[in-house]
């Protein structure tokens, strides 16, 4: 597609359930990022994939969070045993991976509400 696509756009779940969020990056973009945006807050880095390199997981807040990416395509972010503090908009971004100078292209986000 023309842009970064994320699904679902909205997800309401009960505390303790697992959720899976999907990101389809721009074709040809080797770098993929997940960020979290809590209400009224800035963007919090979660994880970064670059090609076939080991992902940078330094931003994942707990072991309940994990992410996978197959090659240079779709990525899924999984949150196990969701908690109310996980409620946020989860943003995915991709870039050409041309080092530090390339801009990120963001999807519209997946809004997660944990009841």
């Amino acid at each position: 597609g023309a842009g970064v696509s994320q699904s679902p756009s909205n997800k309401v779940t009960e505390k303790g359930k697992d959720v899976e969020l999907r990101c389809d990056p721009i074709s040809g973009h080797t770098a993929l990022y997940w960020y979290r945006q809590r209400l009224g807050q800035g963007l919090e880095f979660l994880i970064y994939f670059q090609g076939n390199s080991a992902p940078d997981k330094s931003g994942l807040p707990s072991d309940r969070f994990s992410a996978e990416r197959t090659g240079e395509s779709v990525s899924t972010l999984t949150i196990q045993r969701t908690q109310q503090e996980d409620s946020a908009v989860y943003l995915c971004a991709s870039s050409l991976g041309l080092g530090a100078t390339g801009e990120l292209f963001f999807g519209e986000g997946s809004r997660l509400t944990v009841l």
Binding site: V4, Y33, Y35, Q41, G42, L43, F45, Y48, Q50, D56, S58, G59, L91, A93, A100, T101, E103, L104, F105, F106, G107, E108, G109
Partner: protein
Amino acid sequence: AQSVAQPEDQVNVAEGNPLTVKCTYSVSGNPYLFWYVQYPNRGLQFLLKYITGDNLVKGSYGFEAEFNKSQTSFHLKKPSALVSDSALYFCAVRGGTPLVFGKGTRLSVIA
């Protein structure tokens, strides 16, 4: 560790007046600086970036930003604000791998 500060949560400006949204940064090594805008219920959109060269960078929608190394600042500016500029603006810096964002500044342009 790299960090970004946006000291103002909210900036109000009258339509037609110049606007400034402030950003200061901290990073070891050369900073790569970005501005993004987020319209309601939309994803972030890239506005402009500073990598090297001229300190004044021009971007989308008539916005520009001035890199000031001595003050470690990268303020966003526009000579004449439009109501349609009302949005949430994020400054970001990259020294290492992830792009680190500020908390955002909400700009309201009043007709």
